[in-house]
Subunit: 296 residues, 2 copies
């Protein structure tokens, strides 16, 4: 696959380049739980923050479940990621398959319904995880477009997916909240370099390939800057698969724990990776497309 044949070619040995996105952000006019203003904000900025979607009791229950998942997580399993240089758990993947409570969260009309509304299709879970950013030692995430990785390493054809973050603890300005470059989802940044084999074993702890060049980040942040996503437990953030995002480390005494779910349109199911020989394992990129059931 060459740069001319694939509009979203990246890491093929060329340099960094910013090109226009070819896909819509909002697909069609399917009804759903989001208000027209929320849909418009998502389309314009690439993300929308919805406070109070889950009740405080629901969020507290999920936080308890998340702690149990971390405690039970086998430290040497592929789907369990530890913080660089430490034994603290950074992420546990595949919770939509392994834990009924998180499977229900993924299929909830408030969450899956919003994904169907924005993507204009039935959806399935491409990836799920709990991100733990512990007090004092939580490490940062570099700037990246999720879609860039999913296209290059997993074979996701088009930008018809979205990410959802469910806040389980208060996300403040100081404990390493999600940072986004508003509007960056309308551009695709080809990244330099070539993906090394088994890149995900490294990239889930510290990403080196698939992170845009600093010049591209400066350029895309020059209009709207950088925005932080903060809110109390129970807040839900929906963001486009191609929105550039990052987060700082957490040096505060307040942990930042969130659930992260990726919805993909069933019509956008994975094919062969566009930039690597072998796809990543299923805990990172679901290849078994089972649409989430519609509410009865």
């Amino acid at each position: 696959m060459t740069a001319t044949a694939d509009p979203y070619a990246s890491r093929f040995g060329g340099g960094s380049e910013i090109v226009r996105r070819e896909d819509p952000v909002r697909w069609g006019d399917r009804p759903g739980p989001l208000s027209p203003a929320e849909v418009d904000a998502y389309e314009a900025n690439g993300f929308v923050v919805l406070r109070g979607v889950l009740s405080p009791a629901e969020a507290a229950g999920l936080l308890d479940d998340a702690h149990r998942v971390a405690e039970a997580a086998p430290r040497n399993a592929d789907h369990v990621i530890l913080e660089p240089g430490g034994a603290a758990v950074r992420s546990v993947f595949r919770v939509h398959r392994d834990r009924a409570v998180f499977a229900r969260l993924c299929a909830d009309p408030r969450t899956a319904g919003a994904a169907r509304q924005l993507l204009g299709d039935d959806v399935y879970v491409h990836q799920s995880r709990i991100n733990f950013k512990p007090a004092f030692v939580g490490e940062p995430f570099s700037w990246h477009s999720d879609f860039e990785t999913w296209h290059v390493e997993d074979g996701m054809p088009r930008m018809r997916a979205l990410s959802m973050s469910v806040l389980l603890t208060e996300n403040t300005e100081h404990n390493g909240p999600l940072l986004v470059i508003p509007g960056s989802h309308r551009w695709f940044v080809r990244c330099a370099g070539v993906t090394p084999p088994d890149h995900h074993r490294e990239s889930l702890r510290h990403q080196r390939y698939g992170s845009p060049a600093e010049g591209a980040l400066h350029q895309l942040a020059s209009s709207a800057g950088v925005a932080s996503v903060i809110g109390p437990p129970g807040t839900i953030v929906l963001f486009d698969c191609n929105l550039l995002h990052a987060s700082a480390g957490n040096v505060t005494p307040l942990p930042r724990h969130n659930v992260f779910v990726v919805y993909n349109a069933v019509s956008n199911a994975l094919v062969a990776p566009f930039g690597t020989a072998r796809p990543r394992p299923p805990f990172l990129a679901e290849r078994d497309v089972v649409p989430l059931p519609l509410p009865s």
Copy 2:
């Protein structure tokens, strides 16, 4: 020197402990450039943020000077600190001695005058540096009380010193601003462990000793939480030598560059270190006490 003889003993092989501070925060009623409300805020919270002390033009001029200092800094000199794992300059020390423009900044009635007012004495510069926290790669600073290090490693007898940060670029919520625990300056946290020889060669890049136990940080942050210090270039922050502070890394495209100056009361000049055999070098801890001149 044992824990009983020295009220601020720390890192003597004991555990972590929180004890009450024995010294005043504000020493006397010497007049100066700060308003009564600003002095009260400093005394109550341990810090005060003063916007617009320097004009935008002054701040821009100092930023240019700071860039020149970084470019000219010999990479292998003791007083030049590089970011962990990289070649970017993190700090350049001793700018009050090496650069006339920063010597003038340290002696300015707006800066040194405020220090004399709060410390109730003539003052000299204990330490000065430019802290560069470059875009994308700036690393965090762990929680610490400056006084704890200055007492243990430099021989500063009492809490009669203060730190001043002069903001040269905009310090936002996102680019690794100074984080403080308001009110923590009223307590002294003894730290566990024993200082290894030549600790400063490591601690200036990544501090491992002299950082309070997590339990102590939780306890001190339980009332007022964590506050960030943000502001435009030209803002000046004064904070007590014993205020617990930290900062996150900078993952944004916006660099955070500040000048940092420590004023000590001339009556509080250094003696032998309270916790190590040899004092740190003079670029970290001035031993030649020359009072800054009063305005004529």
